[in-house]
Subunit: 216 residues, 2 copies
DNA sequence: GGATGTGAATGCATTCACAGCA
DNA sequence: TGCTGTGAATGCATTCACATCC
């Protein structure tokens, strides 16, 4: 059901990709409220964006709308999942089961969002063997074997800053393609690997700054 | 048509403010390694940026460098903290002590980063009265009183998506100026309030997309 | 020599505005 | 009439390049 051959050779702005996730959330919300179609205007308003931006963003990936009507919620959700790659389950490893790691491991909305936590590893002997949810914590020494045996492509890193670089290099070396990094360390991404850094302290600093500079 | 550059209210690019936190992290790291000065070039390289960008970013806030030498690490750290507002401790409330909330509450690097967790509240009766770290979970019904009595300015929201809007509106109504929101919901920011949304599922989606589109 | 600070130039993202279609 | 899709125009962020200073 995809006659559209969206040519990907065109360069897609990073901010547009980021907003795709926002559109998907809002469309899922609309779907849960039995809404069948939505215009770029309404979608934009609910997210604090402009209608032109919504159309431009979607336009990078194909033609999804019906003039005079808008976008059909259900098919648009499928399209966005397909574009983001979350229509298929991505097998994911979690490295580090400290405070943040345990919170991630306990989150059970992964599958529905297109991800499956396959393995937990940690460097701390005392944590190895513990069960968190359905999974048992394994030694970080097993990380290469676990990744290969389970064909894992994505990783979530929640280790102390000092350990981040080594962990990320090991992950990259055994074929992991994308890493969500909670450690407050900027490790240069090895070739062919995408890293997104999520530093909670840095986010708080942004809040702090913005709260003091209201004219923004 | 000489554009007289007024000295008042120069607009600072949002991306520049974001990078300030990166500079601060890296400078703190350098300081812990006894490094005394650093050039824009070296700082940029370690973060995957360009030297011109570092200089331009810092240039929005003043003149901190010495030509021929670079930036002195220790004073620069102080300057950045002052700019971000983290040289003074910001009093912060945490709303929602589910998985993510507990992880945040257990994190004890807050003070050193310029934040202090003053109170925990939750809507779930069974959680009220429980101790997490030094703090006891209070009822969300107390939220207004707690915020006023403790002069709280910042909030971290880690509640289910459905509850996010009401929580954020209540926080805004009693004077909270900045909110870090982990709930996957886009709540329009009330006037005078800054909201930053941190949606872990959305971040994973980005990883998923980027891992499939290597040309980036 | 080595580095900053900053106008000017470039490049990228957003918004405009309108043709075209339901 | 209502709305999409998209080139053109605008606006914003990044990079260049160089005068200036240690």
């Amino acid at each position: 059901m995809s006659p559209n051959s969206s040519q990907q050779s065109e360069h897609i702005p990073t901010p547009s990709v980021r907003r795709l996730s926002l559109y998907l959330r809002q469309l899922e919300f609309l779907q849960s409220n039995q809404v069948r179609t939505v215009s770029s205007r309404k979608l934009a308003d609910s997210l604090g964006l402009t209608d032109a931006q919504v159309r431009k963003d979607l336009g990078y990936f194909g033609q999804f709308g019906r003039p005079g009507v808008g976008y059909e919620v259900e098919p648009m959700i499928q399209q966005l999942r397909s574009i983001l790659g979350t229509d298929k389950i991505s097998r994911t490893i979690l490295v580090g089961v400290g405070n943040i790691g345990r919170a991630i491991a306990a989150y059970n909305g992964f599958r529905e969002k297109g991800f499956e936590l396959i393995a937990l590893v940690d460097a701390d002997r005392r944590k190895i063997g513990k069960k968190i949810g359905q999974l048992t914590v394994q030694s970080i020494d097993e990380i290469e074997r676990v990744i290969h045996e389970n064909h894992i492509r994505l990783a979530i890193v929640a280790v102390p800053a000092k350990a981040a670089r080594e962990v990320i290099e090991r992950l990259a070396a055994c074929g992991v393609r994308g890493i969500l990094n909670f450690a407050p360390a900027q490790v240069p991404a090895p070739p062919g690997v995408t890293i997104r850094n999520l530093d909670v302290a840095a986010e708080l600093e942004q809040i702090s700054f913005l709260a003091r500079h209201p004219d923004d």
